[in-house]
Assembly symmetry: C2
Homo-oligomer: 121 residues x 2
DNA sequence: ATAATATATGAACAAATATTCATATATACA
DNA sequence: TGTATATATGAATATTTGTTCATATATTAT
């Protein structure tokens, strides 16, 4: 009855073993998959999307962003940290004020591709 | 997901009101922001990224994917529904077997941009 | 020095999410 | 008709995540 039990979780029979093995051998490294999922995760929130859109128009300080989105300074600061962690934004200080900018061009590209997708259906 | 409260939360002074107003007037429609965040959210999970990578190589049935990722058929099926909901994948049935494929080209493009970003640091 | 302001952060809480488990549906075959 | 197989799905649970609250840090002005 049981063909192969090498995979404890899969409770169905493998239909196309050749394809499965070929895909398995090409699967991106766990590190890359992790980084990529963290990147997309950071884009998967409306607040952060709004922040990124804002920064694509102008550099802005934390206070500007909080006012724009009508949210607390703390909430914005927490979200900016998320965006810093995946290097989507960077900042520079001028006195007490911290100005945020987009970190690289990929952001705009990814953004545009995403909009293409959601608008094209 | 994102909760909207009525109370004004910004507890700091607006520094650059002109910029804030200009950005506010250009902010994408809530519908688009919602769809876009749902799209990226669906990409922000390692299991789903693996599924999408697999499907970028070959169409695969649910059973294949479960075997490939060493996960239960149920877990894969739930994740495929998420991917269907944002139209990243589609399927066709052959008898009992359901084959999944990528739904459009944007996926590969977004994928590539994302990898560019995480690899370029 | 003190006060005021801009931002960051840890802890707590509520909401969202991924997986498991049990079960339902659909198809094929004897 | 039955049984077996492939997939889907609702409910429950455990983990993750976004925001709030209180407070800390850093900078400027007095």
């Amino acid at each position: 009855m049981n063909k192969k039990k090498e995979t404890p979780h899969c409770d169905c029979n493998v239909i196309h073993n050749d394809i499965v093995e070929r895909v398995r051998s090409e699967m991106p490294a766990p590190d890359h998959l992790y980084d990529l999922s963290e990147l997309f995760k950071s884009l998967g929130d409306q607040t952060r999307l709004k922040i990124l859109f804002a920064l694509s128009m102008n550099e802005m300080c934390v206070c500007d962003i909080a006012a724009l989105l009508d949210m607390s300074q703390s909430a914005i600061s927490h979200q900016l940290r998320v965006l810093r962690n995946v290097r989507l934004v960077r900042y520079h200080k001028v006195g007490k004020v911290v100005y945020y900018t987009l970190d690289d061009q990929h952001v705009n590209e990814i953004f545009r591709q995403g909009l293409d997708h959601v608008e094209h259906q």
